[in-house]
Symmetry: C2
């Protein structure tokens, strides 16, 4: 008999509210014979204030015992900026080698976008998750003086670039349009840009059916607002991916519906799935948070674990719910109930 | 009697076409008593193919003899990506210490935007121009092998950050809203982010009338499409500035109307003014290019040299021209004539 052993990290702010709905929909969609076991972890601001810890070694070991991780959101104004981001979110990406940071963007019928003319948007971004400017490499000398120098080193390896590029090509190959766009800034960041471009062109030869192109990251932001339909799959580095996926989320319905997966494709470590939005402390505890992004993250989680049919059921339920929802604002719980009802149906 | 000694670099593709209109409007707007002298330089793809050079020492010395530089566009598909960008454009920014890269974004009446609902957009971006990830610092080992490692080093100094932050505060102070937003990614790029944030907060104390805020670069791309009216002046690093100003141009009428200045505020070296768009070889020689961005760059040039009234005349002419233009497409020359007629009138 099948089972899913899930680590759940509700986190801060609206995290617990949206995670509850994600779990509700997950339970509703799973076939009877699949045993779902969940274990909750209390990472985030509260733990940090209580113990000074963000993610201890023992915590990481405990998380490792699971098939996957569902995260709500981490972050609170009471914690200095960067502490939880680097001490928990990024630490986990590095520890669990989440080198494929997957962020789909789809403008669903009935969903509003800041763009005029309701363009077609249906692409995925494969963002590298363990290298580039995110390595924490760099330093400061003469801190606080007029002679301070601060550096940040973007570290890029053939190993790291090739595996994520290969993953993106495979994803492009599996989609109807079969198109892959490399986004970088190789005219300026020549060392990293050369490596990315070179690996991209080399791997492309193994995927003759995939159409490829290249655009600079600055130009990519223009296309994302003037012609998002040109994109099918995008592969890009960690920082460029961070920037363009927020923009991609904004144009395709907002961060209320943007899902993401921090994936270790070889499954040496559990992958982590989370909404792109943050903990939104300003609306926490008011039942106002939209759990849709979390529910779509659950779909990514299911697909990663091989439950493709269930993932599709969730995605279809979300599409139908968004298309058919009325004008009356719904609570977090009501949206979760509606989605759970649809997937069970 | 007053005089302007201008270096003109028409460049590649549509560069010569738009520069011709910029000069036409410049001549038309200048009072009789101002003597305009121009000297043309042939930098760009042709020079590169003929001599292998992008910008020789003697060229830089010759450029230095001028009060300012007007550039059309540099770049051609026949030249490998990065050669002219780094060998000419960036080289000049560094040689002439163009640390203030000024990029205004204004959605003028009658100009279409990809955003729904014609939002109010009127802000300027002060992008640092001589540091950050643009320094060319970094390297590659084991190039072309499976063990290649490529690094890019973002170099940030208190000296470099403070002077651009100070410039941005002064610009914010001079605007009606007096609001300055720092855009960075200080939760991840902690060394550089700390330096930027620290300097920003310190300089802020000298400008008590300026309202300040901070947003991460990824969130900034969201606001640029959902709430661009929140911005008045933005100050940011070289790479973030590159990315967000292309997006800013896209939402405020496109790169056809986006102007920029590479400014050395102390005037130790001539500043360079150029449209944000590139050489657009696909439409070169067809009289299709919109010279508006170049004409607006001429306005920035005039303001830099102290001709404020003339700069305003050009900006008003452009506003009126865009608001009153008909549906019939106009040639590059026709637009230039219309603008020259308005500023002379
Ligand atoms: C919170 C932050 C560290 C994170 C990132 O920069 O990757 C976030 O912006 C994201 O996109 O997941
Ligand atoms: C052409 C390129 C080097 C340049 C840059 O990256 O600065 C351009 O994109 C710009 O914004 O002026």
């Amino acid at each position: 008999s099948r089972s899913i052993n899930l680590a759940v990290i509700p986190g801060d702010g609206i995290g617990p509210e949206v995670v509850a709905q994600g779990l509700k929909v997950l339970s509703a969609v799973l076939p009877q014979d699949v045993k779902l076991e969940t274990k909750e972890f209390d990472f985030g601001a509260k733990r940090y204030h209580a113990t000074g810890e963000t993610l201890a070694d023992a915590d990481a070991d405990a998380l490792k015992q699971h098939d996957a991780i569902l995260l709500g959101a981490i972050g609170d104004p009471s914690v200095p900026s960067g502490v939880l981001e680097r001490g928990f979110l990024l630490k986990l990406r590095f520890l669990f080698d989440h080198h494929v940071n997957l962020r789909p963007s789809r403008l669903l019928p009935g969903v509003s976008t800041p763009l005029a003319g309701q363009p077609e948007i249906d692409f995925i971004v494969v963002r590298e998750g363990t290298e580039g400017p995110y390595t924490g490499n760099g330093g400061t000398i003469r801190k606080g003086t007029p002679h301070e120098v601060a550096t940040e080193v973007s570290v890029n390896t053939a190993f790291g670039v090739e595996r994520v590029v290969r993953d993106a090509f495979a994803r492009a190959q599996a989609r109807p349009r079969k198109k892959l766009t490399l986004v970088h800034k190789n005219n300026v960041l020549a060392y990293a840009g050369h490596l990315w471009t070179d690996v991209f062109n080399r791997v492309a030869q193994e995927f003759p059916e995939v159409t490829t192109d290249y655009i600079h990251v600055d130009a990519a932001t223009i296309y994302l607002v003037t012609d998002p339909a040109r994109f099918d799959v995008i592969v890009t580095d960690n920082l460029f991916g961070d920037i363009i996926t927020d923009l991609a989320a904004a144009v395709s319905g907002g961060i209320g519906v943007a899902a993401s997966g921090n994936i270790n494709p070889g499954r040496e470590f559990p992958s982590m799935f989370e909404p792109v939005h943050g903990s939104a402390p300003d609306i926490a505890g008011q039942a106002k948070a939209d759990p849709t992004a979390t529910v779509l993250s659950v779909a990514l989680l299911l697909r990663h674990l091989g439950y493709d049919a269930e993932a599709v059921r969730i995605e279809e339920a979300v599409s139908a719910d968004l298309a058919e929802r009325g004008e009356t604002p719904r609570t977090t719980d009501e949206i979760g109930d509606a989605l759970a009802g649809r997937v069970a149906g």
